[in-house]
Symmetry: C2
């Protein structure tokens, strides 16, 4: 088979709010090869990733991403790795390329899995998929009271773990953060795993982060996530020397294998969090999982968008029994819910099962998606180089050329 | 003053060839604040950086770059740093943002320098600018004979140093590379500094790189540049332990301060090469220069486009007497030459002087640029969110709204 088409669909809520909620828009990817179809999703800034898919070449190491994908053979998993290497070489100087490749790589795994009638985690070499303990991933409330109510609701829904992040945390006084943390613990109850996400609020300021460590220990937080930006290895490392028993978590900002390796090697992480929609797809995420396993660092998915992205983010460590915690966004905007026909829901014991179905095991809901399609056009020198393609289930049904959006 | 406008102009040669020549297109940046104007340039993929300037917000940490720039106060150099920090925070999840910020940061330094009638290097805190030894930066010939002729011509023009890179080097046999290297040395003569750029050809393969070390020592190469991609710290470090007296050079792929720090700390570099058009502008490049100085690593500019970008790339280390080598592209396409009214040319002693003039000391040639402007339009939901703006010297002259392109 050869890759015949790579189509990007920019989806968005009618209104995007200035809050740390990544489910407000999405970039859906459809890849076709003959009769085979696969779906993927890129994290963050749909328009910019569309531009990097179709932009004119700048020079031999700055080509549009599609130049390394269209027409390539796709017969087995080694082809996916080969295509990723091609993109990284041919788009070396195109910074956005890793984010763009991510959705394509995910779609290629889905395509092969559907074709071979095997779940992606099996194609990755795992014998079985172990259930995960999903944590309800939510934003801090605007007040401690709101955070308390959120935590109470999460516990009431049977979650064994919850993560509170972003919002006002870390930006005000230590006393305020104490109230937020205690509200979260109180609502969640004494047994639940409590995870805290600082959302890089302290940039690389070890002092500001250190002030919160006693509070985190008081409420028995399991981890402190992203006290700093991904590159601030020295700051992470310094903080890790005094954070125990609270583990440091980070890595969602990594956009290639090297960045993740540097964090694992030099940041003193207990948990490395990888977004398959950013790091270059499932292929690179699996390499990180392998690397982390050898070094005794726990792998955790990062995901904040649809269940398509959620399934993709779980595949790379589906077979790692030891790494149980998984991110499970629970405040998805209607777009992210409407995007797929089926949804991943924790079972009665609060465990999440990675789909045991071909590919990612997730069906896009084309009718559900239609109202959210953002018509986009890019013209260069008067030529239309991108226009939102028709949203169809497979290339055969695209012949009507009717636009669903 | 407040920033009134940030305008991006996509420029390109009529035909872009599939070769490692970064001067085939450019993204020119004009920033205005009241009557003040500054010019900058972003490296690589103009369309993608345009998209990241104007894209709709995805969430609170994924905003278009212009959201953190337009309307901001710009009165002194601390404002430039503040604006950079804003962009990095508000566009944290927008991968392309560092490249996009680079041209804006450069334009802000130019704007302040023009306004304060001071060269940028003076605003950066340097007492004087030391002349540099420019190396003629060219691609390897397609044959050793062509490389020999290039080297001979460079020596004939009075250059004391030359860098050969990309092209066929490292992709064929060791014997072929030997012929290429000896051709370069023979043409350049025994005295000239010979620099070799592998253009990341070995990715992270230490073995392939190691095979070329004896050849590089034979021809007394001063440095081996980019044997590996920027993130491959372990590979760099391994090679550095046996490369002496050939120094390793790298860093052009760094798109933030952290990446450069990691290379300085962990890659065993002798030379760190920074492209101000990629790393976040002159501000971040100067931070790298400071960091490198303390750690005994030499700073070198990376630049492969116009003389506007060249001047910007020299400012961050203009005042470092010890760091003498500078990249000087000598095979610029007509676009990159036509972009500026004045040009930086080595003196009779083969030395290059950083402009002692307000700002970057480079005047864009608007008439020269006009034929290369690439008309670009981006529409989202039917709304025109980007259209190539009128190319004028200052905002006042833009009232005619006449398009020069």
């Amino acid at each position: 088979m050869k890759i015949d088409s790579v189509d990007f669909y920019y989806l968005s809520m009618p209104e995007v709010l200035d809050i740390g909620d990544g489910s407000q828009d999405a970039l859906l990817v459809r890849v076709t090869a003959g009769d085979a179809v696969g779906w993927g999703e890129c994290e963050a800034s749909p328009l910019v990733s569309i531009a990097s898919l179709v932009c004119p070449m700048s020079h031999s190491a700055c080509k549009p991403v599609q130049a390394s994908v269209l027409g390539q053979a796709i017969n087995d998993v080694s082809d996916i790795r080969r295509i990723g290497d091609l993109v990284r070489a041919n788009s070396l100087d195109l910074l956005q390329a890793d984010h763009t490749l991510s959705g394509i790589d995910i779609a290629l795994w889905d395509l092969l899995g559907r074709r071979l009638q095997a779940p992606v985690w099996q194609l990755l070499g795992y014998q079985r998929a172990f259930p995960k303990i999903p944590y309800a991933s939510v934003l801090f409330g605007n007040t401690p009271e709101e955070t308390y109510r959120k935590a109470l609701a999460i516990a009431g829904r049977g979650f064994r773990a919850a993560k509170f992040g972003w919002g006002p945390f870390g930006m005000s006084t230590v006393a305020y953060d104490r109230d937020q943390l205690h509200a979260a613990r109180e609502g969640l109850g004494p047994e639940g795993l409590l995870l805290i996400d600082a959302g890089t609020v302290w940039n690389s300021d070890v002092y500001a982060a250190r002030l919160r460590l006693p509070l985190l220990k008081d409420v028995q937080a399991t981890w402190l996530e992203e006290p700093f930006v991904s590159g601030a290895l020295a700051a992470y490392s310094a903080l890790s020397r005094e954070s125990s028993p609270v583990g440091l978590a980070g890595g969602e900002g990594c956009h290639n294998l090297y960045m993740a390796q540097h964090m694992i090697d030099h940041a003193g992480l207990t948990y490395v969090q990888i977004d398959a929609g950013r790091i270059g797809g499932i292929s690179v995420a699996k390499q990180v999982a392998d690397y982390a396993t050898v070094r005794g660092v726990a792998y955790v998915n990062h995901t904040f968008t649809s269940n398509l992205a959620l399934s993709a983010s779980l595949q790379p460590y589906a077979g790692l029994e030891r790494d149980q915690i998984c991110e499970y966004p629970t405040e998805l905007k209607s777009l992210a819910v409407a995007m797929t026909r089926n949804h991943l829901v924790p079972d009665a014991n609060g465990l999440l099962h990675v789909p045991d179905a071909p590919g990612l095991g997730i069906e896009p809901d084309l009718q559900g998606i239609a109202p959210y399609v953002v018509d986009t056009e890019i013209r260069v020198k008067g030529q239309l180089i991108y226009k939102t393609p028709a949203l169809t289930a497979c290339p055969k049904s695209a012949h009507s050329d009717k636009h669903v959006g």
